[in-house]
Symmetry: C2
């Protein structure tokens, strides 16, 4: 048994797993993780992992391999994954948390399958309907958290209000802000905008006496401009908004490189200015915010972007550990109870 803080890692999940996973762990231990107590349960194919670990001495020293050859494919349906995926690397990663062998599960694999396995093994917190995936995005003043970004394609108003409470607890735990602002993503800020589900959630959040710092409707541009610390939305819209933001950052990076490398003079002056440009690239680097969290489970499950590289993966490890070190599971329990008590008192039914 590993001691200290343990991460249960799906070493086979992700577009370039297991290579990127092992490189990511090693990168974490060299940088942010230097001197921290983290240890790893690596779930995956020993024959593939051993040669990778030979080149990653820090990781090898802190890891234990739990061998399995079974892997969930990126395009498996969640139902298939549940039926055929017992003892897969992803299943076992979640099972490590369930069994108390690890504090956190981490996977860069199939999002739907990971949610289904988290839900089945760890169970939902009492009163929560479905887990929400919360992701981070930079804004001029810090970070915004957006949820749901993928797990719940169709939602009702009760779920949106739960997302608000879950997102608040997550933001407090990770970004250490006492009273984060919460906004509801809509197509305008006027009262009559949006659909019936959005308007019902807006009314409920506006009525609440729980002390939520609810600022009302926010729009798409507010995600990047910091209109709210926590941006609440359904999983369909949130997923598309976040990927749109990623694509736009990438587009501007492309334009940027083309503009600065246009000619010799450009190349020369750009090299003179390389420190400022380096700082800029660092601030808009999406790897810096890689790592999303399933909220509402009895346990911590972190989802890394499937296509990230080792630097992005290391960031997901860092988020995972920060979260596991906090008391947010208890905080969520208290807040969700209060929300549902209030639902009962005001007769909120959707």
């Amino acid at each position: 048994m590993l001691d200290g803080l343990v991460i249960s890692v799906d070493a086979m999940g992700g577009d370039d797993a297991p290579g990127v996973v092992i490189k990511g762990l090693e990168y974490f231990l060299k940088h942010e993780g230097k001197g921290r107590r983290a240890r790893f349960l690596l779930h995956g194919d020993k024959a593939q992992l051993d040669p990778l670990l030979a080149k990653a001495p820090r990781t090898r020293e802190r890891s234990e391999i739990v061998h399995t050859e079974k892997v969930i494919a990126m395009d498996d349906k969640p139902s298939q994954a549940l039926r055929r995926g017992k003892d897969s690397s992803m299943w076992n990663a979640v099972a490590g948390v369930k069994a108390g062998r690890a504090n956190i599960a981490l996977s860069a694999g199939n999002t739907g399958a990971l949610m289904a396995m988290g839900k089945l093994q760890l169970r939902m917190k009492q009163g929560v309907q479905r887990p929400a995936l919360a992701a981070s995005w930079p804004n001029p003043n810090g970070i915004s958290v957006v949820l749901d970004v993928g797990a719940n394609v169709d939602v009702d108003a009760a779920q949106l209000t739960e997302f608000a409470v879950l997102g608040e607890a997550y933001y407090k735990a990770i970004y250490k802000k006492d009273d984060p602002t919460i906004g509801l993503l809509n197509v305008g800020t006027e009262e009559q905008k949006g659909n019936a589900v959005i308007r019902a959630a807006h009314e409920r959040l506006s009525q609440s006496q729980l002390g939520l710092n609810y600022v009302g409707y926010v729009e798409g541009n507010d995600i990047s401009m910091g209109g709210a610390d926590v941006v609440v939305t359904d999983g369909f819209t949130g997923n598309i908004a976040l990927k749109t933001a990623e694509g736009t950052a990438k587009l501007i990076g492309t334009f940027f490189n083309e503009a600065l490398k246009g000619n010799l003079w450009s190349k020369f002056t750009t090299s003179l200015n390389s420190l400022a440009l380096f700082r800029l690239k660092r601030r808009i680097d999406p790897r810096r915010v890689n790592g999303a969290v399933f909220l509402g489970l009895n346990g911590v499950v972190i989802k890394s972007h499937g296509g990230t590289d080792h630097v992005g993966y290391a960031n997901a490890v860092n988020i995972a550990i920060g979260l596991a070190e906090s008391d947010f599971l208890e905080a969520i329990d208290a807040r969700m109870d209060a929300l549902h008590d209030e639902d009962d008192n005001i007769g909120f039914i959707v």
Copy 2:
């Protein structure tokens, strides 16, 4: 009666109307519109417009004021706007097209009210259910068109397939590409992703023999990375995606300015490299793609961003004229008829 190409302008619509509107028209006539035949019917308050026109000689020379003091507020509900808004500047702008006095209507006012007035006065094209708002966004190879970006919060599969056909015709007319690619916005590219509406539209578009260049599902990042020329989605998701992209571009602009102005050395080297940086800023300037079009009406109605400045407004004028010069209304008729015939043949019911 004005001769040549006439734009019927809601001079009072927009956050900073009528000032920005008149400045935008003047800017257009000085730049892109130099030497073009465009003339303007200006609907609005003569007492406010006259002093502005005194400072905009090119616009004054090509304009006729149609006086009205009635204005639609940015936060009026569409139903209110229809009830109380007859003879408002917006209403009259659309009426100018209906009456054959102008080729195009243009407004930076309330989107919902503009759609309602367009629909009531110009009527939908036969077989089209509701108009879709199509907006443009840059990608590394050119421009993507996204629709719907605001008019239809709830859609069914038949509407999504109509959007595909409308978007294709629009793309051909404005961006002069014979066979634009069409993608359906979803939370993943695998067959089982999304909700029932998306999947039904996907199946219908995949089956079609109309020669649509349908490439299947695209994701949020494809909007900026050029995954499809025409990106089809519902008005809720599309509005949020587009505003998210705008916000992200603005965020990076903020980071950019901070990074480059960090210290004296930075300022100096940046000034040496100003041409490249100017080119970059021009490429990511959202004003360059301002101007969205209501598709599916018997007439051309253009919506400018309510908060744009005169440069952005001028771009909307430019799009409007490009569209009015094309034969896209006829092209839409032919394609929509073919789509609905095919619907009947294969028994497509939603």
